[in-house]
Symmetry: C2
Subunit: 443 residues, 2 copies
Amino acid sequence: MISDVTPASAGNNLDPWYGNYAERTSGLAASEVRALFAVASRPEVVSLAGGMPCVSALPQEVVLDSVARVMREQGPIALQYGSGQGIPALRGQILDVMALEGIQGSVDNVVTATGSQQALDLISKLFLDPGDVVLAESPSYVGALGVFSAYQARVVHVDTDADGLIPEALKQTITRVHNEGRRIKFLYTIPNFHNPAGVTLSATRRPEIVAVCQSNGILILEDNPYGLLHFDEPPPNALQSLDPDGVVYLGTFSKTLAPGFRVGWTLAPHAIREKLILATESAILSPSSFSQLVVSEYLASTDWQAQIDSFRGVYRERKEAMIDALSEFLPHLTWTNPRGGFFVWLSLPDTLDSKQMLPRAVRELVAYTPGTAFYADGRGHQAIRLSFCYPTPDAIRLGVRRLATVINGELELLDTFKGTGPLHVIHREASSALDSAPPTNIK
Amino acid sequence: MISDVTPASAGNNLDPWYGNYAERTSGLAASEVRALFAVASRPEVVSLAGGMPCVSALPQEVVLDSVARVMREQGPIALQYGSGQGIPALRGQILDVMALEGIQGSVDNVVTATGSQQALDLISKLFLDPGDVVLAESPSYVGALGVFSAYQARVVHVDTDADGLIPEALKQTITRVHNEGRRIKFLYTIPNFHNPAGVTLSATRRPEIVAVCQSNGILILEDNPYGLLHFDEPPPNALQSLDPDGVVYLGTFSKTLAPGFRVGWTLAPHAIREKLILATESAILSPSSFSQLVVSEYLASTDWQAQIDSFRGVYRERKEAMIDALSEFLPHLTWTNPRGGFFVWLSLPDTLDSKQMLPRAVRELVAYTPGTAFYADGRGHQAIRLSFCYPTPDAIRLGVRRLATVINGELELLDTFKGTGPLHVIHREASSALDSAPPTNIK
C-alpha cells in the first residue's frame, strides 16, 4: 500500500495517516485550559479556571431586539457571504470603541475576524516561519502560546513585574536572542489586565517598550481584550496610539458584549492589513455577516458604554470577593490585585506544584489553571491562574476556601514528611488516603 | 534600526515590515474571484461570476423564528464560548443531513467549522508541508487552490471529463508524481456538480477512484457543498460511504440554508478528527455558538428537506435559463450541462483568452470568472465559469446575451485582423475605440 517514494506515510494501528501529517501538526497539543473546560462543566465543581465572561449580565432582550431588527431590515445581507474585510458599518463602529483607548485609526485598516483568536492566528500565519522567535510576557496567554507553537515558532519570555513588561529585560532579551543568531518576528503583549498575570503595563513604560521595539525593528502585536473592563480608572492609552506603523492591534467583542458571536478585529498598518484580508479569505472566505450585523445593530441601538459599565460592576464585585477570600483563607501567600479584567495570579510556596496539585483540587471540587499552561519553557509550577469572571461572589468565596484546604493540606503533608523528598513522591508512597489515579479528564 | 542578525527584516517605503513575513505569505495572492466580488456589486453589471446562493428563496420569518427561539430558550449558551468540536445537538443533526448521501457516521467524528472553507483550511494545515503535492481535478475550486498555495503545497491537476475524475488519469498522475520523488498528501475532489466544471463523478468511477487512492496510500478530501442541490435524480453516494477510514468529508449549510451563518463541518476518521479539534481551538477557540444554535433550531423546527427542494426548483429554473440562452446566443460554442449545483463551464475557441476578454465583458456589463482562476498551472485561458445561482432567469438571459456580444465581437475582430498576431496585441494596436486600461478592480 505504501509507495517507495513516500516512506514517511507509513501509518500505525491507531492512525493509518500517522506518517502523513505536516511537521507543524506535532506542535498541536491539547492545552491544559481545554481539559479544564471539561472539568469546569461539572456543576458541583467551582471553576476558577475558565475565562468565560458573565453573559448573564447582558440583558437577553437587548440582543434579541438587535437580532430581530437585523433579520427584518437586512435579512438578505445577514444571510449572504460578505467581504473578507468585514461589514463596513461595523468597522466604523469599531473605531469608536478603540477611540476610548486613545486609538485614531482608519476604517480601511480594520479587519474583522472570527474572534480575536482568529486574528492572532492569521497574523501569526502571515509572519511566522518555523524556528522564528516570538517574544511574550512571562507568563503569557495560553491560547497565544498554542498558536505560535502550531506555526513552529519558539516563544522567548520577557520578565514582567507588577508594572508589566520590564523595558530593560526586553532590551536584554532581544540582544541575547539576536546574539544566538535567531530571528525575532514580533513582541506579543497584553498590556492591560494581563491574562494570566492580572498586571497592567504602566504609562511610563509604554513609550519605553515601543522605543525598544522600534530601535530593534520588532513589530508589536498588542492584544487588548480587557482594556475597557477597568474597575477604577482606565488603563493608559494603547501602544498602538504611540506607534501606529509599528503595532498590530487586536480587539474583541467577546468580553464587552458576548463571545458567542465570535466577532473580533485587527487594526493593522496598511500593507499588513492587505495581507490579512487575503489570509482571512483563504481561511474562511468571509466572517459571518449575520454575527457582524447583530453586533453592529447592538452598537447602533444600545447604550453600549453603559452596558460595559455594568460589566465593570459585575467583575469588580467578583474580583473583590476573590481578593477578600484570598486574604482570609490564604493570608500566607501572595497574589496580584488586578485593576480590571478577569484574572488573579497566585504564587505558591516553592515546595508546591500547581500542576500536580490539580487532581486533588478537583477532588475538593475546585478547578484552576496551573501556571505551567502560561509558559512555553516549562516554568509556572509555583503559580496558579484564578479566574473571577464567571462564578458568583459566593461561589468564588467557596472555591477559594476549597483551594485553601488543598494548599494548606499539601503544606501540612510536606511539613509532616519534611526531608523525605518531593511532594508527588510523598503522595504516592505515603498517603494511602489518596486515590493515585487523577481524574481522566485532566491532562 | 535593523540588527545584523536579521538582514531579511529590511523594509521598504511601502511596507516597513516587507522583509518580516513568513515564506508562506508569498503564496497569498488576491484571487480573481475576489476582484470579481467588487465588480459584481455594481448594480448595472449582470454577474455570472460569484457563487452566492439565492438566500431570498429562504423565507426570512423562518430564520427569524429560529433566532428568536434560540435567544429565548438558550440565550446564555448562544452567547457563550462553546466547545471546539461544536454543539453536540447540531453534530447529530448533521448526521441526518449526510445520511441523505449514503453516509453513516458517528457524532463523535463530526467537527463543525466557520464554513467548510475553514474545514478545508484546517485540514490543509494539518497535512501540508511546503513542497507537498495535492492532487485536484482539472479544473478545481479557486478557494481550495488558494488554501493549498498558502501552505506552500503544489497542486497537480488530474484530467477529468463529463463523468468527473478519470481513474486511469489519476493512476498515471500518481505514478508520475511519485517518480519525480514528490510526496502526495491527498486528493482534493468535488464529486458532485463540480465547481467550476459542473460535472459529477459517475457511480461506476467512484469505487475505482477510491481503490486507486487506497492502493497508493492517498487520503481523499471530499468536498461536497452541492450534492443535495440536484435537479433530477440525486448523485451517487458520497465517496466517504465507500471508505470511511480513507476519506475526510467536508459539508456546509451555506448552500442548503445560508452562508451568512458560516456553519460547515468535517466528518473525519477518529485520529484526524482529534487533531482537527485542536487545530480549530488554536485557530478560533470555538465556532460561533450563536450561529450553530440557530442552524440547529432551524433544522429541528423546519421541514428543511422541503426547503432544499424549493432551492432545487430555483436553481433548476436558472440553469435552464442559462442553457437556453447559451443555445440561442452562442450556438457555436460548447458547455457543460450540470444536473445540479451552481455552475456551467463554457469552452471558448482557442483564439480567445477568457482573462484578457474580461475587461471588455465588464464594459458590456456582464461579469464571469475566467477559467485561469481554477488552475494552479496557468491553464484555463480558453474557458469561463458561468454561475447561474444568484441572478434571476431574466438577468441570466441578459447576461449571456451580453457575453455573446463580447465573444462574437472578439471573434469578428480576429477574423478581420487574421494573421496579424494574438488578439490582445490587436486590441492594443488596432482598436482605437477601446480604452486600453482595464477597470482597476479587476486583476
